[in-house]
């Protein structure tokens, strides 16, 4: 446990320091959402209707932007070799790294949502619903994204490959995230069903992601 705690603390500390990139995600999220009203025009009703989808897309792209760093730095400076050799199973180390990444880069997106909801003419209830779905859904983005991040390290291709690998995997999360948010806003639809599936996707990612990432990293070390 000490080992995993130390790993989580270290990754959060690095992410929050200069050049760490945790704030880059939030700034990107902010930029994407702020640009939308300019592109769509001053139709308040339309903005409110598109709001949840815009927030979810923004969060998806922002989390993709920072995922690239999850394993590349540790691979390039040799930390990954030492982690493979250590007494802590690589699967647990991967899970700890993903958790740290979510705390540093995913959680700030959820916290920023209420402010951005104002820009999209979402009322308080709708904003809260989107924030809640993001809270339940962004872990799924991180945990499925870590598989792509590990593969990108293994194949020595960063950036674009990661986006191509991860975006298709994120489609279910996007569908149920937006569905749950829409359901909370439009009364007759049920919020419970899509929200439960969203939580299930996160839990599924938590179980599968670390194993897949660790397998990929082990296979790819050279």
């Amino acid at each position: 446990m000490t080992a995993l705690g130390a790993l989580i603390r270290r990754d959060i500390r690095i992410a929050l320091r200069v050049g760490g990139g945790a704030l880059i995600g939030v700034l990107f999220f902010l930029t994407v959402v702020v640009l939308m009203p300019f592109a769509i025009g001053p139709d308040l009703a339309l903005l409110a209707r598109l709001g949840p989808a815009i927030l979810w897309l923004g969060a998806l792209l922002a989390s993709l932007l920072t995922l690239d760093r999850l394993f590349t730095a540790d691979h390039d400076d040799g930390s990954l070799d030492l982690m493979t050799m250590s007494r802590t199973p690589l699967e647990l180390s991967c899970a700890a790294k993903a958790l740290a990444h979510w705390l540093a880069a995913g959680l700030p997106l959820v916290i920023a949502t209420p402010i951005l909801g104002l820009l999209l003419n979402l009322d308080l209830g709708a904003t809260a619903a989107v924030a809640l779905t993001l809270l339940a859904g962004t872990p799924a983005l991180t945990f499925t994204g870590m598989i792509g991040a590990a593969l990108a390290v293994t194949l020595h291709r960063g950036g674009l490959l990661l986006a191509v690998l991860v975006l298709p995997l994120s489609i279910p999360v996007l569908i149920f995230g937006v569905a749950a948010s829409e359901a909370a806003i439009t009364e007759p639809l049920s919020f419970g069903a899509p929200f439960s599936i969203l939580c299930a996707l996160s839990l599924f990612g938590l179980v599968v992601g670390p194993y897949a990432a660790a397998a990929s990293l082990r296979h790819g070390l050279d």
Partner: protein
């Protein structure tokens, strides 16, 4: 304790680097791996560290802790030093102590031994190549592991640093440790020579 390799074969990128390599080292012994560039010195160390898998043959450690694998009882000091530029010298060292676990000692003491205590709060980004090497050596001292796998350990170290490291390696061997070092220059300690990639 005894580290032995039998008929080890290594293939990298479809090309055979070496094959049929036998080696042996027991507690208190150092093995100097020598050979021309590209002969597979680093590959051999990474095979022993378990980061690479041998294509044939076996590598085993007898008489260590039964519960632990060879990799878990080894330190690997490679070209890449596993230091985070954003973290301070002591934060880097403390992280590896907490993460690697096992028998550990005070990071501050190790930093004093490698003469980096004055830079403990400095971000690792500002360290020179020699200082980074000294910090990596401090990791070997802070976390206790019986097997040290060293890849060109004296690279970038000044003469005083090389002498200091020779003393530290001597201490490690005297405590019953075991060293496998890939090197081009004399280590400064008594060591058996293992030649790789010599086809003449």
């Amino acid at each position: 304790m005894r580290l032995s390799g039998r008929g080890v074969r290594c293939v990298r990128g479809g090309r055979e680097v070496f094959s049929g390599l036998d080696f042996e080292a027991s507690s208190g012994e150092a093995l100097a791996v020598v050979g021309p560039n590209g002969a597979g010195k680093t590959s051999l160390l990474r095979l022993i560290a378990g980061v690479l898998a041998p294509d044939d043959g076996s590598i085993a450690l007898d008489g260590g802790e039964d519960e632990l694998t060879l990799a878990e009882q080894s330190h690997y000091l490679g070209h890449r030093d596993a230091l985070k530029p954003a973290l301070s010298v002591s934060e880097n060292l403390t992280f590896w102590r907490d993460f690697l676990g096992g028998g550990t000692s005070d990071p501050a003491e190790s930093l004093a031994v490698v003469e980096l205590d004055h830079a403990a709060r400095l971000p690792a980004a500002y360290l020179s190549a020699g200082q980074r090497r000294r910090l990596s050596i401090a990791r070997l001292l802070t976390v206790r592991r019986p097997v040290w796998l060293l890849d060109e350990p004296t690279n970038a170290l000044d003469t005083a640093g090389q002498k200091l490291f020779a003393v530290l390696m001597g201490d490690h061997l005297a405590r019953g440790g075991l060293i496998v070092a890939a090197t081009h220059t004399p280590l400064g300690i008594a060591a058996r020579t293992l030649r790789v990639g010599d086809h003449q």
